[in-house]
């Protein structure tokens, strides 16, 4: 290093590293991204990256974790927005947020299905990450449960449907949307009106 870099607060540095990781991991395959690449992108030494994350996997998980946290914060804000009092507006906002964070779901899925390179995946770390993700999933579930409960109180949603299960149903749409397996328009149409022609209904 020619010149000592200006020291930045740890939180700022950590944010920069996570941001660089997001750009690299969503652009290239996990296996070809190196800690050197991350360091180069931030403009710091590899040793400095290791101060914050002790392995590439830990950095990867940290990046996913941060993304999901921000998604949740974004959803909370959108759902509280008085402009989004209608169910449809809330779901539109949720869709925009999900699309925005779709890359993190895509890369997680890719990493899980590509198989774990031997010796590179400490079981405890993976299990810990999975537990965390389960917690986030419950949190998302809770947020959507709230959305449907309010919609039900406002008479927008049939009163005979269980809102917890509705939240799960929408969770499935959300998951499929992040993988581009279903368009939001189709999902919304089914969620609101169902698949049957009106003659066939009941």
């Amino acid at each position: 290093m020619e010149k000592a870099k200006e020291r930045k607060p740890a939180e700022v540095r950590k944010f920069e590293i996570l941001h660089a990781a997001y750009e690299l991991f969503t652009e290239k395959d996990y296996h070809v991204v190196s800690m050197d690449d991350v360091a180069a992108k931030v403009g710091i030494s590899k040793a400095a990256v290791y101060l914050y994350f002790s392995s590439k996997l830990e950095l990867f998980f940290g990046m996913i974790d941060q993304g999901v946290d921000r998604l949740i914060a974004g959803l909370e804000e959108a759902f509280d927005d008085p402009d989004n009092s209608e169910l449809e507006k809330k779901l539109d906002a949720a869709n925009a947020a999900l699309q925005h964070y779709a890359p993190i779901f895509r890369v997680t899925q890719q990493l899980m299905s590509s198989g774990m390179p031997d010796n590179d995946f400490p079981p405890q770390l993976v299990a810990q990450f999975m537990r965390k993700m389960h917690g986030r999933r419950s949190k998302l579930q809770e947020l959507f449960n709230n959305v449907f409960t309010i919609a039900q109180q406002n008479g927008e949603v049939r009163s005979d449907l269980n809102t917890t299960e509705l939240a799960t149903v929408f969770g499935v749409y959300g998951m499929l949307m992040t993988r581009s397996e279903v368009s939001y328009e189709t999902a919304k149409e089914i969620l609101f009106h169902g698949i049957l022609t009106s003659q066939e209904k009941r």
């Binding site: 995946f121 049957l196 066939e200």
Partner: protein
């Protein structure tokens, strides 16, 4: 090996049936190859002759279960005329194979525990992707038939609808039976309060 009149393939399937019971009742991580060998009445050595690891046995079991489930679904769906009844027909095979999916979701969650077994893991993941692909194909043809019969709306993409249905199916394992009822109802009729355009139809129904 003792001559029992059974081929190696039969033995494999016999073991898989035993393994299925053991995995269903006790999960994946707490079961050992010894447990399965003891239950199947074979020595641990001969079990390892058929399957080189617990994950490989599990992968074989999942493939076998997935194939059977798809066959069952295909027959049940073909035996119904109405789209709504076809969806209802999915209930039984889904619930019956529900434990397999529960165990699978546990295995998938603890992916890291399969350290040193990337090859088998990739095979297992491929089985699950194949299951998903075949399920979607089956649902696409089911949806296309219902469209032709005028039972369901034609303006929505069959592939998207099939993906949705397959998505619901895979979540039954995680969220349980009540969820099936809600998912089915929403998929068929939606969540909206009876709107003006539909109320005409519903009031006719009520009057009956």
């Amino acid at each position: 090996m003792k001559h029992t009149g059974l081929s190696a393939v039969d033995h494999r399937f016999g073991i898989v049936n035993t393994a299925r019971d053991v995995f269903y009742s006790r999960g994946y991580h707490s079961v050992s190859m010894e447990d399965i060998a003891a239950k199947a009445g074979v020595s641990k050595t001969s079990l390892y002759n058929y399957f080189s690891s617990k994950l490989e046995l599990f992968a074989f079991m999942m493939k076998h279960t997935a194939d059977r489930m798809l066959e069952e679904i295909e027959v049940l769906v073909a035996s119904q005329d109405l789209f709504e009844d076809k969806i209802e027909a999915l209930r039984r095979p889904m619930l019956e194979h529900f434990p397999a999916m529960v165990v699978w979701s546990k295995v998938a969650d603890n992916a890291g525990l399969a350290q040193g077994q990337s090859r088998v893991w990739r095979i297992l993941m491929k089985h699950m992707r194949d299951l998903r692909r075949k399920t979607v194909e089956l649902f696409v043809s089911m949806i296309d038939e219902a469209k032709d019969a005028g039972q369901i709306r034609t303006e929505l993409s069959s592939v998207y609808l099939a993906q949705m249905l397959a998505g619901f199916a895979s979540e039954v394992a995680v969220f349980g039976v009540d969820y099936f009822n809600t998912a089915k109802e929403v998929f068929l009729c939606g969540t909206r309060q009876i709107s003006d355009e539909r109320s005409e139809y519903f009031s006719k129904e009520d009057a009956r």
